[in-house]
């Protein structure tokens, strides 16, 4: 009888130990939240972005980059609506997230006050320079749209043959599109050698003939776009139809088209076909048509999680991976420093990514550098142009000279 009681007690102890042991072995779970447009407007960019983030966090957990600890990142669709983003953010806060990943310019600006009050670090897919105004917790993964447009304008100024280059801006009718216009104007006022002839806010036009003819009548030679891919595709297809597209950079009497991060990529080629030939595009991400170590890893990750080729080749997939990489690195550094992984310490880790501690993810053309006074990640931007149906790198990564002057 005694031995039976002893065996029962032993069994209970073993079971208890097994449960306790499994809890300890499981490690800690760090909660993150992401809200973005997986459906609705701009979902063509948001969808691969979400896949990139999701895949990288899965990879982190499966390959035990954080040891036994894991990242639990909830990704919710906000359909590009600020109201829904706010609801998602509130839910994440209730869940106890330690870092937040956001998407649109409108919602990043709209929730800025909440981020400040919650003192939570936010990595946004919006590269609008205005996100950083009166804000301490929003981090741009790469250089702002302003940097991108001024860089392109500088490229025009340096490479244009003849007198002063005449440039038009083609922008989205929103905060996202208008944001960098004033910085380009400031750069011109500071001595950038181009003439800004017109700023066109596009609508939902299916034909840009009138606009293109007007720009030609004003002797415009360069059109720099800050919008999404579909309006650019419409414009460059119309230009090709009208025989207005330059066959090489700066061809006299023709239009050379250029654009910022969200205007280009393989999706633009899919939309506009051979009309994209000689289109100049600036971003801070490596792209799969220019193979390298980073793009090999990107494609391997996509393959590992069964993504189709379209998603794997997307620069937005790379952008999604990149924010996940930065978040993971911040957690890894906090752990390595023996700090608790919480909002305050992750914010501290992000601010410490500079100098020798700068972080170089495989997805970008330069290192991520943040500090208390600089919350723009990758400062080095790469210009690409479409040659024979694929984007090819144009020279080495660049950093804007005039942005430093006007800041």
């Amino acid at each position: 009888m005694k031995s039976k009681s002893f065996l029962t007690a032993l069994l209970i102890l073993v079971v208890m130990f097994a449960f306790t042991a499994s809890v300890n072995a499981g490690g800690k779970v760090y909660k993150l939240g992401m809200s973005l447009a997986i459906t609705g407007p701009t979902s063509d960019a948001g969808n691969p972005y979400a896949k990139g983030t999701e895949d990288y966090f899965k990879f982190v957990n499966e390959t035990k980059i954080l040891g036994d600890d894991t990242i639990d990142c909830t990704i919710r669709d906000d359909q590009y609506k600020t109201d829904v983003t706010k609801r998602n953010f509130e839910e994440y806060l209730d869940d106890g997230i330690v870092m937040y990943l956001n998407y649109s310019t409108g919602s990043t600006l709209g929730l800025k006050r909440d981020f400040e009050e919650e003192e939570i670090a936010v990595l946004s897919a919006s590269y609008h320079a205005g996100n950083l105004d009166d804000s301490n917790y929003i981090f741009l993964p790469i250089a702002s749209y302003s940097d991108q447009l001024v860089n392109l304008a500088e490229y025009v100024a340096k490479n244009h043959k003849g007198g002063k280059a005449k440039v038009a801006l083609f922008v989205h009718p929103s905060a996202f599109g208008r944001g960098p216009v004033s910085d380009v104007e400031k750069a011109v006022a500071a001595g950038l050698n181009i003439e800004l002839v017109e700023v066109v806010e596009h609508g939902k036009d299916l034909d840009n003939t009138a606009m293109l003819k007007r720009l030609m009548s004003k002797n415009v030679q360069y059109v720099i776009s800050q919008t999404i891919q579909s309006p650019v595709a419409t414009m460059i297809k119309d230009s090709q139809r009208l025989g207005l597209t330059a066959s090489s950079f700066g061809e006299a009497g023709k239009l050379t088209f250029m654009g910022a991060h969200y205007t280009g990529g393989n999706d633009l080629i899919a939309l506009a076909g051979n009309a994209t030939e000689n289109y100049f595009w600036i971003t801070a991400f490596n792209i799969t048509s220019v193979p390298g170590e980073g793009t090999t890893k990107q494609l391997a990750l996509a393959k590992l999680f069964g993504r189709d080729q379209k998603a794997a080749d997307s620069h937005n997939y790379a952008a999604g991976i990149m924010v996940a990489q930065v978040a993971t690195e911040a957690i890894r550094r906090a752990k390595a420093a023996g700090l608790e992984v919480n909002k305050a310490n992750l914010y501290k880790m992000l601010n410490g990514m500079n100098g020798a501690n700068a972080y170089s993810p495989y997805t970008t053309t330069g290192p991520v550098t943040y500090s208390k006074t600089d919350r723009m990640g990758v400062d080095m931007l790469q210009i690409y142009s479409v040659q024979n149906g694929v984007f090819r790198a144009v020279g080495e990564p660049v950093e804007s000279e005039y942005m430093k002057k006007i800041k």
Binding site: I38, T39, R87
Partner: protein, 364 residues
């Protein structure tokens, strides 16, 4: 009058005034009082997460807006497809104060009840102006006139730098007798405020409909020439119907600005206007309680479809495309089904339920 004030078994009215009472029996009054206590009491007993508190606040704001739309479209029979613009007028009234005085000015943070009323009045003025075409136009033509207002509103907000070109204009945190309403209590605080406003406005409509002004709305809707012959002024009635709708919408807009602590253009688009119209139709046009049912039904449907779309997106190979289509499809389907099978909306189910329970267990 019935001898038993608790259980009236028929109509025993001897005076017109008796028929006009808000509560016909003491039981009705008791039930309603109990319901109000429940509405005010439950958040103190069951703590709801901020996310769901925001959803509830959002529903209450939509109820205020739909009450206004129901006045102009349901009771007065004037189609308005620019209602979100009126809501936007209210929100941008608050935003204008913030832009002019700073978002943490004492007027914005301490005198917010006054500002909410001011926003309603500004909405009413715009409503009256937009209602002027109703003097000449009817049906589809009037709908187009309200649509024009929606377009003008959107254009103005998006292009005027004063309105930050549609980008968020921040609104400061408000103060109550206990001090600044912090982040923790924000949604709960506004729940009580909006609920109080909904009740006040609900009683306002209920009482309005008992007056000649309320009855003239219905008379003009049913036959404006007959109403004219009976001595009413159809033109004035239509304009003031729009003004009333604008007032309600303005209040809703101001509440939206305070709850979200910011005003951005995208909350007041044509899509939102269609949403309000859908809520009024699903709830039941021309009924007061329909203004409550519609927003509750559609906002919760929205949440459920979102969850379903996420689930579908996770498990189906081409799930994302299906998820994209699911929300507008469900939204459209619900409206069409209601128009075909229950044009009187959920309010009619409520009416049927009420009449059934009134007679239960006796069928007739």
């Amino acid at each position: 009058m019935s001898a038993n004030s608790w259980l009236a078994t028929g109509n025993f009215f001897t005076k017109y005034k008796q028929e006009q009472r808000t509560f016909l029996t003491s039981l009705d009054r008791s039930f309603f009082t109990f319901f109000l206590v429940l509405l005010f009491g439950w958040p103190l007993l069951f703590e709801l997460s901020n996310k769901y508190m925001l959803v509830v606040d959002n529903i209450l704001i939509a109820i205020v807006a739909v009450m206004g739309l129901n006045l102009v479209t349901g009771f007065a029979g004037l189609i308005s497809i620019g209602h979100a613009a009126f809501v936007g007028i209210g929100a941008y009234t608050i935003a204008s104060f913030c832009r002019t005085m700073g978002d943490s000015h004492i007027i914005i943070t301490h005198f917010w009840p006054v500002l909410i009323v001011v926003s309603g009045l500004v909405g009413a003025v715009f409503g009256a102006i937009v209602g002027l075409p109703a003097l000449r136009l009817k049906h589809l033509y009037l709908a187009i006139a309200t649509l024009s207002f929606q377009m003008i509103f959107e254009w103005t907000i998006q292009f005027m730098t004063f309105f930050n070109q549609g980008q968020t204009i921040y609104v400061g945190r408000v103060f109550w007798f206990t001090g600044k309403v912090g982040r923790k209590d924000h949604y709960l605080f506004w729940y009580f405020v909006i609920l109080t406003i909904v009740i006040l406005l609900g009683f306002g409509i209920r009482n309005l409909l008992k007056t000649r002004y309320g009855r003239s709305l219905v008379a003009v809707r049913d036959n404006d020439r007959a109403a004219d012959a009976m001595g009413m002024n159809p033109g004035l009635t239509k304009v003031y119907a729009f003004a009333l709708a604008g007032f309600f919408a303005g209040i809703a807009g101001a509440l939206h600005a305070y709850v979200y602590r910011g005003v951005g253009f995208e909350s007041f688009t044509l899509h939102e206007s269609i949403g309000y119209l859908a809520m009024a139709i699903v709830g039941g046009l021309g009924t007061l309680n329909g203004s409550f049912w519609g927003p509750v039904a559609l906002k919760f449907l929205d949440l459920q479809v979102e969850t379903l779309a996420e689930t579908v997106g996770q498990y189906m190979p081409s799930g994302m495309n299906l998820a994209t289509a699911l929300k507008p499809f469900t939204f459209g389907l619900v409206i069409v089904l209601f128009l075909i099978f229950e044009p009187r909306g959920i309010a009619n189910w409520w009416r049927i339920t009420k009449s059934y329970t009134k007679l239960w267990p006796f069928r007739y």
